[in-house]
Symmetry: C2
Subunit: 370 residues, 2 copies
């Protein structure tokens, strides 16, 4: 750590270090920073206050280990941590301004936004440059097909930089603009977004960074409609994703995670004859599950999954990766079957859930289901 | 990138670089590596074969963008990627052996294990040293209290190195040993594990890296028992965590994610009088939900959650962070209420689910519930 801090101190003007500020014996960042700068550690009144405040508002005793967190390199400026125990600090090592932040992601993000980025922007000085960007979220195309379809973007829009990121199971296409005139950039971004959307078609489900479950929520809320789920192979993941959106109780009524066949019949009321004839993993079963849960919950839509997430349970006709999806409305119900070959239970569950959400998203948007 | 590669090439003997090998225009690692080493890019037959093999087994067309991935710095050795499109490669830059791997985590991990670590071990030469370790998973103690309780470990066991990692909502205590005699190290680790377990008590739920849902699964399977869930505020997360364990269909029967009060009554059969009298977030309601879902699914145990995950929905009596948990068996049912103050919907859901699992885990292990 000491050598890396020194090396960066020679090379860079600003650096952010995360983690290693905790109360435990293997948290050594403050010591290493002091050593790299050639100073010692001393108790910092502001840091002590930050630590004490955290513990007193939570009515928890302040331990000796936590008190250690109030020791900072001499000359360092404390960066109080309003949401955790470890305060951060900023100091010079070599010619570089270092910011040391805790490693817990939500503490780090808050302190970065509130205490580091403003300093960085101020240091950069009043800039005449703007850097707007746009994120298009894509489902159902591979990264390379997406890239192929966007070939020519940078010829057509020389001021736009293209980025792409696989955020399984979706792909994010990022468009970055940079220049001195904000309205011009915004117009260019708008044109480029249209150009991209034309080429990727209905695979683009958001141009503002929303997840599939957020997009579904926006549709349902707008139409005052409601949704119920019957999940077998997705095992509660769809419900979890939907309920991760604040306010989802306005449109999400119920998920029956019927893992056992018996539960499919007893809780959902699926006709035992359908399961006997087709098995649990079948488009007819998924249709029936969707129709049943919609009726039970008195929801506008019923969405159901039944498939084989693996690693066991596959058959020659229904190998691991097979997913059947049912979608029911008041007037009809449809069944779909797909196969994915990720060979990983977790990835299969993610993809199954996203595929079901995408079918519903297309239905809600009045576009072709596939 | 070029400068960083050169700098590392001066300083280090081995380096692993992940990401930037994809087919898109912002994947620039091969170019940068070639430039840093002062060579050019040329088509590599082994890399081309790796890319072609991936596409042909998936019956997908090979695009020009993917063909780009077969261009490696002159003199580099291709590291075939059996599970993705981007092959990796190894090459010298300065005095350092670089390994370039794709950034997709599961591809990177497989290639690191199969193609990088063996080279690293061979390079290190026949070692007479062993490095066994042990991971103890802890729930219900803060990181600093855990650390405080383990004070003195390194005095008592000088050969053991202690690591601690907050893996929300649990804490992992890691014990590392290193030395020439394996049986001695194993015995020391065993003694240290006992020492730690004595100090942390029943908060330790695993000493082999299992999750809470895996531990519950082991108990249920061993006793041929089954579990049903009724989830309100956890919104399907508990079912998702349980069904992320392969083979969970042997003991997990049903989760009724009854987000709407109406679903609590209609699907679970919760007495409307209880909800009217106490509200949805109450120990009595949670008890009733657990008892109802256990009966419906004919399960050995029923576990239920009802609470306020936030950001909305809090009241002075039941503020955001309140969680009521019900646990029902054939002969009785219990209700618990707790309050957490993370102020974040996602963290609250995680903590609520873990707290409910921990109550069940203690019950299954015949130990005190809190």
């Amino acid at each position: 750590l000491i050598e890396v801090f020194r090396e960066i101190g020679h090379r860079a003007e600003m650096a952010v270090v995360t983690g290693g500020l905790g109360p435990t014996e293997d948290d050594l960042c403050s010591e290493a920073a002091a050593e790299a700068a050639g100073v010692s550690l001393e108790e910092d009144p502001a840091a002590l206050m930050s630590v004490e405040a955290f513990f007193s508002t939570r009515h928890r005793p302040l331990t000796a280990a936590n008190k250690k967190q109030a020791f900072l390199p001499t000359g360092a400026k404390c960066l109080p941590n309003p949401v955790g125990t470890a305060p951060g600090f900023q100091m010079m090592i070599g010619k570089c301004q270092f910011f040391f932040l805790p490693g817990v992601p939500f503490e780090m993000k808050k302190m970065l936004a509130d205490q580091v980025l403003p300093v960085a922007f101020e240091r950069r000085g009043p800039s005449k440059m703007f850097s707007p960007d746009r994120t298009l979220s894509v489902f159902g195309l591979t990264e390379s097909v997406t890239n192929e379809r966007l070939h020519g973007l940078t010829d057509r829009f020389p001021d736009i930089k293209l980025g792409m990121r696989a955020k399984f199971p979706e792909i994010q296409v990022k468009l970055y603009a940079r220049g001195p005139e904000k309205p011009v950039l915004e117009e260019t971004l708008k044109q480029a977004t249209l150009w991209v959307t034309e080429r990727l078609g209905n695979h683009v489900f958001s141009s503002s960074g929303e997840t599939l479950s957020e997009v579904i929520g926006v549709f349902l809320r707008r139409n005052s409609e409601t949704l119920a789920l019957a999940e077998s192979c997705t095992g509660g993941l769809m419900a979890h994703l939907l309920t991760s959106v604040a306010g989802s109780s306005d449109y999400f009524l119920l998920s029956a995670v019927t893992y056992a066949n018996r539960a499919k019949m007893d809780v959902l009321g699926v006709d035992p004859g359908i399961i006997r004839e087709h098995g649990a993993v079948h488009v007819q079963t998924a249709r029936e599950m969707a129709a049943c849960v919609r009726r039970i919950a008195e929801a506008t839509y019923g969405l159901a999954t039944s498939g084989v997430a693996g690693p066991g349970g596959g058959t020659p006709e229904k190998p691991v990766g097979t997913i059947c999806i049912g979608l029911a409305t008041e007037t009809d119900s449809e069944g779909f079957q797909f196969h994915f070959s990720y060979g990983d239970r977790g990835m299969n569950k993610q993809m199954f859930a996203a595929k079901a959400f995408d079918l519903l998203r297309r239905r809600l948007g009045g576009i072709d289901p596939t």
